[in-house]
């Protein structure tokens, strides 16, 4: 398994809750894309095996011209070996998902779209400062299907202050009715430095209520399952067979190359991330330097990441594999913790695989941290 992640650092406008790296000014776009083309060349030896997934994320890749996407894709095809059965995903927003663009993307070989719908309610959308409305949301799905891209993900957000269970149910029903095969449903997070974070700090917006969020979460898991859309990660749901191959690779600890300002890559041995500043990114690349920070992972750190990402998936973590790869016997070293989460119904062990239940899944971070090994302990 190998993949490539291409970060497009531009957005039309800033959403209330978003802390990703992006710029709302398209002035630099051509220069950044040229730099990214160069970066693709610079990183050509990072990955040997054929690329099975290509993922254009952001930011909003959808706001680029099709020709700009094409330029990047060509560079990838030139410098990397692309598997014939590649999963090629593009993130975009409903208002960019026009018929014309969909057709253009389809022609390039994009075979999966991830649409940032967030909600089918105009009230929620304007609260989040999204650029689209509910009607455009529906239209975008139709445009995609019409152009032949049927492998669709839509992003939804729950846990919005004041959101009632009924309106969440309505959102989910709409998604199901529209026939999408994949849903990424995110519980709203208050990130410091975002508009929302600021409002919460000033006391003008109430943070999301835990109880309500967990109720909406559990409701969603059951509701989607009833409609054939199964949870496979904390925030990801799919008709079996339509899971995101690209994202699943992250959680399985596979290698991926990263292109673009602020993009993170992983070679299997070390992680790296590019500088999160468009102008400085360009300057560095233009003088053939990778503007990256590298972090080598110790075995304990790789173990921690493995546990952390693995417990987020319904696949869980293979205790045998942990023993072989990291020399950690979870059953022995964390006996009490293991016993506790199994007894209280947060986790189960089947065939030597530890996985979290619906209840445990919403506590995955705390549970993972309990299994962490800290450097200085050994």
């Amino acid at each position: 398994m190998a993949g490539i992640y291409v970060h497009i650092p531009f957005c039309k406008q800033a959403c209330t809750y978003c802390d990703f790296h992006f710029s709302t000014s398209l002035k630099l776009a051509d220069r950044v894309i040229d730099a990214m083309v160069t970066e693709i060349k610079l990183r050509r030896d990072e990955i040997k095996s054929p690329l099975k997934t290509i993922y254009f994320g952001g930011g909003t890749p959808g706001i680029l011209e099709v020709s700009q996407i094409e330029k990047l894709l060509k560079a990838i095809q030139t410098h990397f070996d692309v598997h014939p059965d590649v999963e090629f995903t593009l993130e975009n927003n409903p208002d960019d998902t026009t018929q014309l663009k969909c057709q253009g993307w389809a022609d390039l070989g994009v075979n999966r779209l991830s649409i940032g719908i967030q909600s089918f309610s105009d009230w929620h959308l304007s609260w989040m400062n999204r650029a689209h409305n509910a009607a455009e949301a529906k239209m975008s799905i139709q445009n995609a299907i019409y152009s032949g891209i049927t492998n669709l993900n839509i992003d939804l957000i729950y846990g919005i202050p004041g959101m009632r269970k009924e309106s969440w149910e309505e959102n989910l029903s709409k998604a199901v009715d529209l026939g999408v095969k994949h849903i990424s449903a995110y519980c709203l997070t208050v990130e410091p430095g975002t508009v929302l974070g600021h409002l919460v700090n000033k006391g003008e917006e109430k943070p999301v209520d835990d109880e309500a969020a967990s109720e909406q979460f559990e409701f969603m898991v059951d509701f989607l399952e009833k409609h054939g859309i199964k949870q496979y990660e904390v925030s990801n749901f799919a008709v079996p067979g339509s899971e995101s191959r690209h994202n699943s690779a992250y959680w399985a600890g596979a290698a991926y190359t990263a292109i673009g300002p602020s993009a993170h890559g992983f070679t299997g041995h070390y992680r790296y991330w590019n500088i999160a500043n468009n102008a400085r990114y360009c300057q560095a690349i233009e003088s053939n330097k990778l503007p990256q920070t590298v972090e080598n992972l110790s075995r304990d750190e790789r173990y921690n990441e493995f546990v952390m990402t693995g417990l987020r998936t319904t696949k869980g973590i293979d205790l045998e594999r942990i023993k072989t790869n990291f020399n950690v016997d979870l059953r022995r070293e964390f006996e009490a913790k293991m016993k506790q989460i199994i007894e209280d119904g947060s986790a189960k062990i089947e065939n030597n695989i530890l996985s979290l239940t619906k209840k445990g899944m919403f506590l995955a971070d705390g549970i993972a941290a309990d299994f962490f090994i800290l450097e200085h302990e050994n």
Binding site: Y5, Y186, C187, L188, T189, D210, E211, A213, S214, F217, V234, S235, N247, Y250, W251, Y256, A258, S262, A263, H264, G265, F266, R271, W273, E295, E301, N304, E305, M308, T309, R312, A336, Q340, I341, D344, S346, M361, F362, L363, A364, D365, G366, I367, A368, A369, D370, F372, L374
Partner: protein, 595 residues
């Protein structure tokens, strides 16, 4: 020797001792402009952060007066009651004292108690009226108070300011002219008293002394009389801003010795240093043992660090002679130490110093005063820990310590002060008008009622215009019960408290509510209960954590999230697992945070 003067600076808290010391040190050129900062002698981080003096600090000044060179040893002392043991030891090394009175505040409770300490040792008192630069200074009124208190001439009171330097010359003149030169015989066998000591990670153990008779030379073989240990004086010297090594320190002077002392236990303040080949006939009378006012358990958060904690306490005790401790164990916390403190601030400082200077992470348990219990078969013993209280069925009686408290306040606040004291089970003993609007009220109060938050409350209700001093007056029988705290049904001994029966319900409820606030939500529900014996009197529930997961964890989130969770896990290590519940450090002091 006739040109040596040893004096200390004493006062009520915040009356400006350390600031005035700055002026003296600067004027005499003892510290340069470069080294001068505000309260230069408060060199511990804790002192600087809190703006109070915790340790006495000795420093030597050279000063020429009327053509004669003088050596002036100054000791700045703390003003807070909890550190009065520091003051009393400093006084024992001096012949005179500057009694500082803040001209905007007038005489306060510790002005009086510290004055009495000085008078007991026959110190020459030089009254100084400080903060005269302030418009609110009440020169005449406060001068009258001072004259009344010590019976001096109004002319003897020196107006001064630690801000402008007013009065500095006059103070130095008074020190030289009025404080007697030390007595003693430089030719007699060495007799020096240790009044303080410190552990220095580079130099080892350093002892500070004052020489009564004889002299000490570098390289001398010396003996500490009480411990009977012998050393070679590797380095001796006097104390400037830093230590200044000398070949010889003689009668009347204050100095330090570094002599390869191995264990902290070998140094006791009050011990006498003499020479092995020419010993003095008798030891100097040492200090009275300190009587702790409050007791609490101190435990390492990490049970493996028990021995390290012991070593740290030993070293800390070198520099804090008022700290006492002995090993104890707790079902909830394992092995630790029951420590005795002079008050709550002292307890807080000890915990802070352990963390900062010795890198220990510790839990301090609910503090209590020392009780005396008598069993039905007539045995009497001390109860310094709630778990030592005999079962009610075979307890004949239990007595709690009482104090006599003097509160000085403005007459406007008499009503409020009375109410507070009565609320704290106090008995009014006396009430005297010092002037038309200043009153001294004397109360007898249970010590257990005042050590925790009494002083804070007093300051609040009097808007800062009340000061307070107290002395133990023995024990009185009392209706005490042991209040236990249970977490998910398991009693946590470290959270037990001895309290008066009448307060039990109220306190039980408040403690449960406070614990609910302090114990973080965990993956399961936690019942917090207060009980007397088997009877539960209060309950709160810490609801189970419902959401503890971030929404997204893609390629770019993994590192950041791992680091975050690693940090979280480290934070958890600062908590103590009691049963299956993680209890944070500060929860053990919940009782103190009630209002």
């Amino acid at each position: 020797m006739k040109n040596i003067r040893n004096f200390c600076i004493i006062a009520h808290i915040d009356h400006g001792k350390s600031t005035l010391a700055d002026r003296l040190l600067h004027y005499t050129g003892t510290i340069s402009d470069r080294d001068l900062q505000e309260q230069t002698l408060d060199d511990m981080d804790l002192e600087r952060e809190r703006g109070i003096t915790i340790k006495s600090h000795a420093i030597q000044m050279d000063y020429e007066f009327e053509g004669q060179p003088y050596t002036l040893n100054l000791i700045d002392t703390p003003g807070h009651v909890d550190f009065s043991y520091e003051v009393s030891r400093s006084i024992a090394a001096c012949e005179g004292a500057l009694l500082i009175v803040d001209a905007t505040q007038g005489i306060q409770a510790q002005t009086i108690s510290n004055l009495y300490l000085a008078l007991e040792h026959d110190l020459e008192i030089i009254p100084v009226l400080n903060k005269m630069d302030l418009d609110s200074a009440m020169a005449e009124e406060v001068t009258d108070q001072i004259v009344d208190l010590i019976g001096c001439d109004p002319e003897e009171v020196i107006p001064a300011s630690g801000k402008t330097g007013l009065g500095v010359e006059e103070i130095l003149k008074a020190v030289i002219e009025r404080v007697p030169a030390p007595e003693g015989d430089p030719e007699a066998p060495l007799q020096a008293m240790i009044f303080d000591s410190v552990f220095n990670s580079f130099r080892g153990i350093i002892a500070y002394f004052r020489i009564r008779n004889g002299k000490i030379k570098k390289g001398d073989e010396v003996k500490f009389v009480n411990t009977n240990k012998k050393y070679f004086a590797d380095e001796i010297g006097t104390l400037k801003l830093d230590m200044v090594a000398k070949k010889e320190v003689s009668t009347g002077d204050v100095g330090y010795i570094i002599s390869g002392i191995k264990r902290a236990k070998e140094v006791k303040v009050g011990d006498t240093i003499t020479l092995v080949n020419n010993p003095c006939a008798e030891a100097i009378k040492g200090f009275e043992d300190v009587k702790p006012m409050v007791f609490a358990g101190i435990y390492p958060v990490d049970t493996d660090e028990y021995e390290e904690l012991r070593a740290s306490l030993e070293k800390l005790q070198l520099n804090d002679a008022s700290l006492v401790y002995e090993p104890e164990s707790s079902a909830a916390l394992g092995f630790g130490f029951r420590c005795g403190f002079l008050g709550m601030l002292h307890m807080e400082i000890v915990q802070e110093r352990l963390e900062r200077e010795f890198n220990m992470t510790v839990i301090t348990t609910v503090p209590n005063v020392g009780y005396i219990a008598t069993t039905t078969d007539g045995q009497t013993f001390n109860v310094n820990n709630p778990s030592e209280l005999p079962d009610p069925s075979n307890m004949a009686k239990v007595e709690e310590p009482y104090i006599k408290a003097q509160v000085i306040t403005k007459s406007d606040f008499v009503g409020q002060v009375m109410n507070l004291c009565i609320e704290k089970r106090g008995i009014l003993k006396n009430q005297v008008y010092l002037t038309s609007d200043r009153v001294e009220i004397t109360f007898e109060l249970p010590l257990g009622e005042i050590v925790f938050d009494f002083y804070d409350k007093l300051k609040t209700l009097s808007k800062g215009y009340a000061s307070f001093d107290y002395h133990p007056i023995g024990h009185k029988e009392s209706k005490l019960v042991k209040l236990d705290i249970l977490l998910n049904g398991d009693q946590v001994d470290a959270l037990s408290a001895l309290i008066h029966r009448d307060n039990a319900y109220d306190l039980g409820k408040k403690i449960c509510a406070k614990l609910k606030e302090l114990i973080p939500r965990q993956q399961f529900e936690i019942a917090v209960q207060a009980a007397i014996g088997t009877k539960v009197i209060a309950r709160e529930t810490v609801r189970a954590l419902r959401k503890d997961v971030t929404a997204k964890c893609y390629g770019g989130d993994i590192t950041r999230k791992r680091k975050l969770l690693e940090k979280q896990k480290k934070g958890k290590k600062r908590m103590r697992q009691v049963g299956n519940v993680e209890v944070p450090q500060q929860a053990f002091l919940a009782v103190l945070q009630l209002d």
